[in-house]
Symmetry: D2
Subunit: 362 residues, 4 copies
């Protein structure tokens, strides 16, 4: 089990969906950063269950407490513990999970790997685990923004099922994203997406989709070749989120059908600075940010836990049928938007600190 | 700069394309593994330049030497240094790189990050850096195979430009892959791919494509949730290779258009063991291998360095035109196949050692 | 700030002396270990303040809660959060610390490093931080003992001020150590030590001393040359405890006055096994355990915070006098005994897991 | 086997005493540092065998080559490989080591841990491994000195056997240390030490001693509580050197006989800056440098390999007698002086980069 992420700005998450609580420890946060639980709560509220009628109705306020590392409103440079209680756990809805494996869920692999699992809910593989990431992401974002005021990360739902939107990464804002509960800033498509989610949910089914994310205002020079390339660390960060199946940056998979002369981003001088005329690189070249917006997409599969009857096996190896109860998202993407942003902040903040630490010579 | 990969089985690569040489140090390799330079050479020969008429004609034998960590043909448990000399370097072909940035290459970002760069060739961002990875991959693979004899990794060129092949991941073999110089085990498509590469090269252009890779014979239980999920570490490993723009596992991006009931892999009992009826999960659930084949794809962009004239800027910020000389691959994918396999071996070997170390209790 | 210790069995401590609480996250604990808060409480009670009349009278029950990672009494293989509240904090006793630096304490260096510090108590440099270590040590010890039942770690107070005891490391037990509140298993010397502590305390002064520790039942083969030698990691672990000034293993500093022929431990066969006739090596050779008892000593300086008037400076750089109030140990050694044992457990457990992970080949 | 040291400035050493060579890879060295093989050679010459008539006569020039990471005399920010060939290896002098374990050497523990060992010399436990450390130390020192020009580390032989010197840490220089081959800057004692080494050597025996080391010109604020305290990382660094048995900083073990009021370092203002009137802390408080000289001592045991006949056992478990041949130092301390300095540089440089990376906020 490895629940620690980062080299200098290190986040350690803890907690199961049905246990004492969930949260994180942030180790290596720079000192003297003003931070409040209210700032963290804003993002926790964006990911919490029960926030709209298209997400799981589990009622969790997800109110966070800071138990260490902050003194008189500022970080001490010491570990910051953020904790959120589990309040609306209902293990009774999971009794069949004790003996059966949910198809495409983590039940079987956890059982096989650990020889034990907390079957009262999703355990460690629950999306509740991401509370610690989102909380830490708020702190990371503020560190970066303090040094680079124009820094911002905006993620949105690009597609759900076969419904796809067109969004301008150069201008899209968080308030546009949050204007609808589905977090797609294209209003017409958003409306169709909401209908689609309700429709599949009514059938006991679920849908997936693609989240797109842009990092703007990032200085050039971040990313540590060769293994800790910026896109490699972003890929790992995003693929560590539950339900992810793919990551692409810039031109991604579709760029493979271009020739080099079509694909290359010509360098130009704009306003006295080096820029690229296009951005098929997605803001990263040779593993290092080039100052252009970093643009990437993440594929999320349809939620594994569904009410429809499915074929599965029991812990004892008997064939069985399972119709999941419990409260689940029929589509994880709306709530995954703040998770994606949080992971981006964690990667960027850590790389900013690393680059500062290694670029010390005059 | 971070050139170390892995937690227990740790590989550190070193070297620039035009310098004293390239190679790796393997730290944490289990003791008593029989290993020879000949075994390593097999894979180095699969990635070396000059191996066919569709790859760069740079003449490098890439003969490797082992300077430490092996005694009387067996690993000592101590660091293994593998070194390969640079012999056919021609810095004279790169003189214009001293003052100009190649579009979509690493020249500009290295200059910006480090304030200095080895412009005599690709420097650290050269594909020569992967020699160390391929060498270490041979050692990693042999460790895993010693413990799991049916373990094997096969990668192949799935598509180049708009030419796409269909290959059966369950049965494809390395000898089928290596039957053509383009490493696509679908002979008809392979032939078209070879023609396409020659065609774009004759125009001073380049092409990209997709590599697919399967890991067979992997035991269940590998992968360390939540941050070091197997797919997250595979994504990082692959996205750390030069020219990569995307990674997907199992159903990947196309799986986002299915519903949960269509996408979920039902559990079944086959031969007394738990299996899944389908494998849209790609062999990984909840970040942990489930015993099915691990199947993933990587997008490689078209080679950035092309002979065609391109618009760029100089180090001094003046607009300029660049027509690259030097010897370059018009398509990196044939030589990237052993790199992908090597990175898969490094990830799997490290996770196997970690799981063994953490699963100690009866 | 780096509050994470270990490679596979990783402990992250958090908390200040005057804040929401203190504790730890254990990441990488093997699954299926039976563990209860009661077992942890035993060791927390050995280190808690107020346990006798020779330690600080701060009243803290130090009752621990486990918030994650344990299910139905067994570890899940997921992060284990252990939390202890701060209950008897009295920041009013520290008001002068806001403006003055305690001589030989961490006030000045924390202020200089971080530009901020929690002056309401010892902050992060308080001995309360070690609660997380002691809790994690209990878990680590149980992992090791499950695999090596004869494994045990016993530490004791060897000397205080100029009072020194003679204790047989081969036979000394925890109950002998705990027989007196000063934790010196030599009753006569213990009695003199208690008198000495009371005497210096009555004068507003403090004393230091030496703790000796033996690890018995350790298998050979633990320790990872060259940088993670067992004695190097033990040295780091012990020197990371508050108030430590020295570490020596086996013959230590006094062994430097012997010749090689006097110092070397001859190998002999006893009971069919390789042993050493003497143990000046202290159980470690070449950085690796040799199966003999590991024996080491740690120097603890006299407590820095004393009631006597001392010369110091203010935050503004003015000369000042300080007579500390607050509740402090006049001698930290009795309470440091379980801390030393805990750090030994953390080192041994991590090395046991590492060796298991790296020694996988037949 | 863990041969990597450091968090941002990371050194990985490789090589056995009798193999292709030895050296290091430096990963994370800041870019643009001017460095030459000549600068590195100066320190390698201080540690090389055959440098005087009181060290091992093995003839190794230890000429180093830089194979990567340096371009036109400056670091690229990429991994720096430094290699030294093994030239004067004489495995024939070690044939009995194939079947016998040298008392108090690493033969037995390596065999037990790895099930294999390079018996043709000291293998990985040879002092030749430290060549990589010394080379990396030169680079690390230059990084620190570029930013803090008054930074310097001076180590010296404080005692050998029962011969002890008095040296002023505030003023001692490297040239004073190097004035005699024994590296004790107290000429009279140095002379006696040289005689003593020759005397024990003539008897087929060996001696140990204590090295003292001072770090001057270090800024305050280095060290990362709680586990990576500066003294903890120095302790680990020094205890990772061959033949070390103890480490103490500042008042060390002798400080345990003082009271707090005697031991505490009063703060005073000198020249407008905060200083301490005394330096029993050894330049570190709360794990963080306070700007005073860092002063520490390391105990080195007498060399294990001696010509005198010793009792031992064979690999098969038979009692045996061993009189070592080969060429060995009768006292390792003169050659250990540059090793101690190198390890100090590695610790300080890494902590300087870490503090820079974490102290980014205004």
């Amino acid at each position: 089990m490895s629940s620690i992420f980062g080299t200098l700005f290190r986040v350690s998450t803890w907690g199961e969906s049905h246990g004492g609580g969930v949260g994180c420890v942030i180790d290596g946060c720079p000192a003297r950063l003003p931070i409040t639980t209210e700032e963290i709560q804003v993002e926790l509220d964006r990911r919490r269950p029960g926030q709209s009628d298209i997400v799981t109705p589990r009622q969790e306020e997800d109110k966070c407490r800071i138990l260490s590392g902050v003194f008189q409103g500022k970080t001490l440079g010491t570990p910051i513990l953020v904790a959120v209680d589990n309040k609306d756990a209902r293990p009774s809805a999971y009794t069949e999970m004790e003996t059966m494996f949910r198809p495409s869920h983590a039940d079987y692999t956890y059982q096989t790997k650990y020889g034990i699992r907390n079957w009262e809910g999703g355990g460690r593989s629950s999306a509740r685990e991401t509370i610690g990431r989102v909380a830490a992401g708020v702190v990371a974002a503020k560190v970066v923004r303090t040094l680079h005021p124009s820094y911002e990360v905006v993620a949105w739902v690009k597609s759900i099922h076969d419904l796809s939107s067109e969004v301008d990464p150069a201008t899209v804002t968080v308030s546009q994203v949050d204007a609808t509960p589905v977090r797609c800033p294209d209003p017409k498509v958003a409306s169709a997406m909401i209908d689609r989610i309700k429709e599949v949910r009514s059938k006991g089914d679920s849908v997936g989709g693609v989240i797109e994310c842009v990092i703007r205002g990032l200085p050039p020079g971040l990313g540590e070749p060769v293994f800790d390339r910026l896109e490699a660390d972003l890929a790992k960060a995003m693929m560590s989120l539950p339900a992810t199946k793919g990551f692409e940056i810039g031109s991604g998979f579709s760029g493979t059908t271009l020739t080099g002369s079509q694909h290359n981003d010509a360098f130009v001088i704009e306003g006295g600075k080096v820029h690229t005329a296009t951005n098929r690189s997605g803001g990263v070249q040779g593993g290092i940010s080039n100052g252009e917006p970093v643009l990437f997409r993440i594929a999320f599969k349809p939620t594994a836990t569904i009410a429809k009857v499915q074929q599965t096996v029991t812990v004892e190896g008997e064939a069985a049928e399972l119709a999941a109860r419990g409260r689940h998202d029929a589509c994880v993407l709306p709530r995954a938007v703040p998770m994606v942003e949080a992971m981006a902040h964690l990667v960027i903040c850590d790389h900013l600190l690393r680059q500062t630490g290694q670029n010390v010579l005059p």
